[in-house]
């Protein structure tokens, strides 16, 4: 019982750590670039949103797996 609950929780927790670190990295680089060249801010903003969505998608795949595990307990 404990093992099953732990599995469901750890699945999301570990993936969220990696996703948060990488999204923070991407965001900080984008802000540096936007501060260096404000006239390109719109292009950088579009690319930033695209990158964030890709990284977020990995977390969401794992979330779906975790929900599947949760309903099997």
């Amino acid at each position: 019982m404990i093992g099953e609950i732990l599995a469901v929780g750890m699945t999301i927790a570990v993936v969220a750590i990696a996703s948060a670190i990488s999204q923070g990295w991407v965001g900080s680089r984008a802000m540096d670039a936007m501060a260096r060249q404000p006239e390109a801010a719109s292009t950088i903003q579009t690319s930033l949103l695209l990158s964030l969505a890709f990284i977020e998608a990995l977390t969401l795949f794992t979330f779906v797996i975790s929900v599947l595990l949760w309903t099997r307990i």
Partner: protein, 229 residues
């Protein structure tokens, strides 16, 4: 403690779609009915908003032109003038997915994108359409050589990448909307009326971003197919 976990496990059953009625051999689920209601509201709103189009926009025509210019800006930023012919596909995707994601503003509805069927239908149809557009605009020879681009040995990898695109598109949209709904429902069970509000605000923002990302990715895939890698 086990029964509390099992009680919260019923949330997935609560949020799952349920069949409403049968039309011959096809079961109509609640997701399809929600989609019909959103389609009806969208038809009425857009019909009233584009009644008398004038050269100099006034009033509600501004909003419509805002949306069109937004989608046109995405396509033009990537592809230039030739992006104009794809405005129908990407514009429809953006407006439809945005209204489906925000369908919970109509009381009693749940967003139909909370069901994997809807998002999978969107993704598979879009990717299939991109292949057809490529074949129609540039011919079959260009389509086959598109997969053997750097080296014919890499053709299986290119094929796998092409097949993974609908999977990732559908799961991205499904996961974010379903996850947001589940968080709001759990918060509502714990502390009604106050706790769900920040989650719902975040959910509204996230829904818009997901619709935008779907449209942007479709435009990027169209660009890749029209211009080579």
């Amino acid at each position: 403690m086990g029964e509390n976990i099992k009680k919260m496990g019923q949330i997935v059953d609560y949020l799952a779609p349920y069949p409403v009625f049968q039309l011959g051999p096809v079961t109509i689920t609640s997701t399809v009915v929600n989609t019909w209601i959103v389609m009806g509201v969208l038809f009425v709103v857009l019909f009233l908003a584009t009644r008398r189009l004038e050269q100099l926009p006034r009033g509600k025509q501004h909003v419509v032109e805002l949306v069109v210019e937004f989608v046109w800006g995405i396509a033009e930023g990537l592809m230039g003038r030739i992006g104009r012919q794809f405005l129908y596909l990407t514009g429809t995707l953006f407006v439809f997915i945005l209204s489906l994601n925000l369908a919970w503003f109509i009381p009693g509805l749940r967003p139909p994108t909370m069901d994997l069927s809807t998002t999978a239908a969107f993704a598979v149809t879009t990717i299939f359409l991109v292949q057809l557009i490529h074949i129609k605009k540039k011919g079959i020879a260009s389509y086959i050589s598109h997969f053997t681009f750097p080296n014919p040995l890499l053709a299986p990898l290119n094929l796998v990448e092409e097949f993974v695109r609908p999977v990732s598109l559908s799961l991205r949209l499904y996961g974010s909307i379903f996850g947001e709904k589940m968080v709001v429902t759990i918060l509502f069970m714990l502390l009604p009326f106050f706790a769900p509000v920040p989650a719902m605000l975040l959910g509204a923002l996230l829904s818009t971003i997901q619709a935008f990302v779907f449209t942007l990715l479709t435009t990027v895939y169209l660009y890749i197919h029209m211009h080579g890698h």
